[in-house]
């Protein structure tokens, strides 16, 4: 026998279920008057610095049907590549941009819209710059543990080509699953949970 390490185990995940809106976006599902607004529903104001963009995201199941009961959270740096977080030691982020968003997928169409700004580049652990990206976290009925992926931008070809995380993906044919297609100011991003086009999900 030896001493105990005195470590605890992380609480196991359980699905968010079909009624996730009640807890995380109550106003969206008709529970008004408890919170003034749904947290994370507005990401930018008129003072936020950076290029205004819209993310149009869907999550598709193994038959290609869009999930209409999913919830997506986004986390990103500001336009200068600084996170609005105590863990950010390189500077102070834009005070008009928290960098975090939360949206349910539409109950009819399955489309999820985020109005935000394009993030700047953030350094990798060795100081090389990562390409601009937004971290996504996806939960829904049938998803036992939240899925972590990243959204990169189709008009950042050069930065994407030198991104250390994209470079880790052994099967190069899967890299495009992480790249949102630009149409005007809108980036379109389909997350495939299964199938030939299954999105790359991360364990980090």
């Amino acid at each position: 026998m030896a001493q105990s390490l005195d470590r605890l185990k992380e609480s196991p995940s359980q699905t968010a279920g079909p009624y996730v809106h009640i807890g995380l976006t109550p106003n969206f599902c008709g529970i008004g008057g408890v919170y003034d607004n749904d947290l994370g529903s507005t990401m930018v104001n008129e003072l936020t610095k950076g290029e205004r963009i819209e993310l149009r995201i869907r999550v598709l199941d193994g038959t290609g049907t869009p999930l209409r009961d999913a919830l997506i959270e986004t986390w990103q740096a500001d336009a200068a590549g600084i996170y609005n977080s105590p863990a950010e030691l390189r500077g102070t982020a834009d005070p008009n941009f928290l960098g975090w968003g939360r949206q349910p997928t539409d109950m009819e169409t399955g489309v999820c819209l985020f109005r935000t700004i394009k993030p700047g580049r953030v350094p990798f652990r060795d100081g090389r710059l990562m390409a601009p990206h937004i971290t996504l976290w996806i939960v829904a009925r049938g998803i036992n543990i939240g899925l972590h992926t990243r959204l990169y931008f189709s008009d950042e070809e050069k930065a994407n080509a030198e991104d250390p995380i994209l470079a880790r993906i052994e099967h190069r044919v899967r890299v495009p699953t992480l790249i949102a297609e630009r149409h005007g100011d809108t980036y379109v991003f389909d997350v495939h949970l299964q199938g030939e086009k299954e999105t790359v999900f991360f364990d980090s």
Binding site: R7, L8, K9, E10, S11, P12, S13, Q14, T15, A16, G17, P18, V20, H21, I22, G23, L24, P26, G30, G33, V34, L39, D61, G62, T63, W75, A77, S85, P86, A87, E88, L89, G91, G99, V122, R125, D126, G127, M130, T135, W137, V139, A140, R141, G142, I143, N144, I145, L147, R150, R168, L193, Q194, E198, T199, V200, F201, F202, D203, S204
Partner: protein, 250 residues
């Protein structure tokens, strides 16, 4: 950047690796909804970058007075939700056993009859006009939190021909780093439905299921008013950065 005047050392160490044998896997066919919604390819692993280590801060200022009181936060003035009145309290800890302050907890649940206030829920149990079913809290300096609610009822759900969910409260947990993000469910000590539930059954280790079962806590009850249950939550711990050097190319 750390808050001005704060003497708390910013936490920047990488998170302990997630034990995916402890969590339910993505594909748990007994829970039918997981079949077409579970990724089938291997997850791509990488060490945390700043994008995973960082996360937003939610201040206590955003909370309303009744946010942690589900008995009253949707009720008409002078009225209250129907059901067994309970207090749920506990701490959010990390895997090193330290309390985690400033964690945003959001909870949601069915009413005492097992019915959710949601247009997708068609269970015949009635809605309670005084119960919305959502609440939130932010942990204090020691990681502690508490809220007041009614005990939710169990309810049938369309999975097998006669599957019932044990009474449960959903918890969304927002720690300091985005990689700590977690949603889970709290169950109640002694509920025989726990061990029959296909969602719970996705967890293979009995000790992991037990980590989600809140015991009755007589010391935290309010006599003549409310029973109490204790529910601690554990988030991923961080590596110490004390002896870490970061040579180029590391």
């Amino acid at each position: 950047m750390p808050e001005p005047g704060s003497n708390r050392t910013p936490e920047t160490g990488a998170f302990f690796q997630r034990d995916r044998q402890w969590h339910p896997p993505a594909f748990t066919p007994g829970y039918k909804s997981s079949v077409l919604r579970s990724p089938q390819k291997a997850l791509v692993a990488f060490a945390n970058t700043l994008s995973e280590l960082s996360g937003p801060v939610f201040g206590h200022a955003m909370l309303g007075e009744l946010d942690n009181d589900l008995i009253h936060n949707f009720a008409r003035s002078g009225e209250s939700a129907i059901g067994e009145r309970i207090i749920v309290q506990g701490r959010v800890l990390d895997e090193r056993g330290r309390g985690v302050p400033g964690v945003l907890l959001e909870f949601w649940q069915a009413n005492a009859g097992g019915r959710y206030r949601h247009k997708k829920d068609g269970y015949l149990a009635p809605l309670d006009p005084n119960f919305g079913g959502c609440g939130r809290a932010i942990t204090g300096e020691d990681g502690g939190y508490a809220f007041r609610t009614v005990r939710p009822g169990p309810y049938p759900w369309p999975n097998g021909p006669n599957d019932w969910r044990p009474a449960h409260i959903h918890f969304s947990v927002f720690g300091h780093g985005f990689a700590q993000r977690l949603i889970t469910q709290m169950y109640f000590e002694g509920d025989p439905l726990i061990w029959r539930c296909p969602i719970v059954g996705g967890i293979s280790d009995r000790r992991a299921v037990e980590a989600l079962i809140a015991p009755l806590d007589m010391q935290s009850t309010i006599p003549m008013d409310a029973l109490a249950y204790k529910f601690d939550i554990v988030l991923r711990g961080r590596r110490s950065t004390l002896f870490e050097n970061r040579p180029e190319g590391n």
